[in-house]
């Protein structure tokens, strides 16, 4: 089964019912009529009703993507850019587990809860943007050295939360680290190692690492 099909199966009917829709169906509603009526035809109103080409600013570059208005950022990253950015994981799909955490303008957010259309023009960073070529970021290095993972599925989300914290506050104390990572779950139970790794990464950043 392809990954996308697995995801669709997992999502079941509900999200699909919401995510489908625009495209083919229905003439203009009262809502869209109102928008049309009120707008200068030449204006750049975004009244996305069907698939639309947008440009997402991701990891320092610009990625074209065809998204529907209901497409989440997570879906866009994983399935609608080329090549797909599958480092950002779908697990719960409802903002509870943190596996889909990305940075938007430097702030950690759940990509499963964001509409892609809402972050056009914002600076998005994913786990793929942390390393510089083969050179891991200090946070990534510390996760390796401190065994901050077991199965690894939650790791991209933890890396992004930790990066978001340390870039803002490299001297974060243990309590601040725990708070900053409280929106990420590791079901393997590696949190103690993760906390050590983030503390170590903070030390390196303070000492002038990248």
């Amino acid at each position: 089964m392809t990954e996308r099909r697995v995801e669709e199966e997992r999502r079941g009917f509900s999200r699909r019912a919401f995510l489908q829709g625009a495209g083919g169906v229905a003439a203009a509603s009262s809502l869209t009529e109102a928008v049309h009526a009120a707008q200068d035809p030449a204006s750049e109103v975004q009244r996305m009703r069907g698939p639309e080409e947008v440009e997402l600013r991701v990891n320092g570059g610009t990625l074209p993507a065809t998204v529907e208005p209901r497409t989440t950022l997570l879906d866009a990253l994983r399935h609608r850019v080329d090549p797909p950015l599958t480092g950002t994981k779908l697990v719960c799909g409802e903002g509870a587990c943190g596996a889909c955490t990305v940075l938007v303008d430097g702030r950690p957010m759940y990509a499963c809860m964001l509409l892609a259309a809402d972050v056009v023009g914002r600076e998005i960073r994913t786990v793929e943007g942390l390393a510089d070529g083969d050179g891991l970021s200090p946070v990534q290095e510390a996760f390796c050295e401190k065994d901050g993972l077991m199965c690894g599925f939650c790791t991209p989300g933890f890396l992004m939360s930790a990066t978001g914290l340390l870039e803002r506050k490299p001297d974060a104390d243990a309590e601040e680290v725990r708070r900053a990572l409280s929106g990420n779950f590791c079901r393997c139970g590696t949190q103690p190692h993760i906390f050590e790794a983030v503390a170590e990464a903070g030390r390196r950043l303070r000492e002038g690492g990248r």
Binding site: S14, V25, S29, T32, V35, R70, L165
Partner: protein
Amino acid sequence: MSAPRVTVPRSLDEALAALAGAAPETLLLAGGTDLMVEFESGRTAPRDVVSLWRLDELRGVRDEGGGLRMGALTTCADLLGSDLARARADVLVDAAAEVGAVQIQNRATVGGNLGTASPAADLNPVLLALGATVRLRSASGSRDLPVEEFLTGYRATARRPDELIESIAIPARPAGERRRFRKVGTRRAQSISKVVVALAATLADGRFTAVRAAAGSVAPTAVLLPSLAAELVGQPPDEARLDAAARRAARDDAAPIDDVRSTAAYRRLVLQRVLRTELGALAAGA
């Protein structure tokens, strides 16, 4: 029902124009921390959606008459980073710190807490206790409503289909007002509340002169607790009086239910004890 559409206005004027002819059941999407979960679960049937997230006109906090005016899209993280918010509405910032985790705090908005009107929305009891007002805006004008009139029931509000929440105002702090906030959840971070309590009260010459309290997750929506004021105003904060006030408010002002997170009996008992504890701390000057 016809197919869902998401409209993504880029300015307040565009949003108001879109809402001017909106179907009554059109949903307004702010930070999505509640609605996106509803969509995922299928509990909310697909409907027309207007996403407000890009409306930067609705962000930010500013002074207003010694109080605080917040744009509807002001996030919990915005509040946590604002010295003005801390100075003017300390308990609201305390509450924002207890909402979800960092990823949620970066998205959850003051206007969204009100608009979604969940009984468990953590900011709403605080807004009630502080006497906040909601400014609703439509293409034809704006109006202000006290939060207790805005919240009309379970996930129900006084917002008309053509309106959006533009901003929320908290009046200047009355001289000497003491405030408390307490959230009880399953764990410290990322939990949906079982009980939330917010208190604002003043004492003079050893007696309560004003008491305004509210609670969340104990009724169909966030509610004021009028019994506390009825029991306490004009009275000294002695132990027996505080006991009686907490007991009466938990009995008369709350209407909790059994659900996945807790039971009605537990919520009522915890409400009573949390009220009693916080009243004690407030009377002691904490």
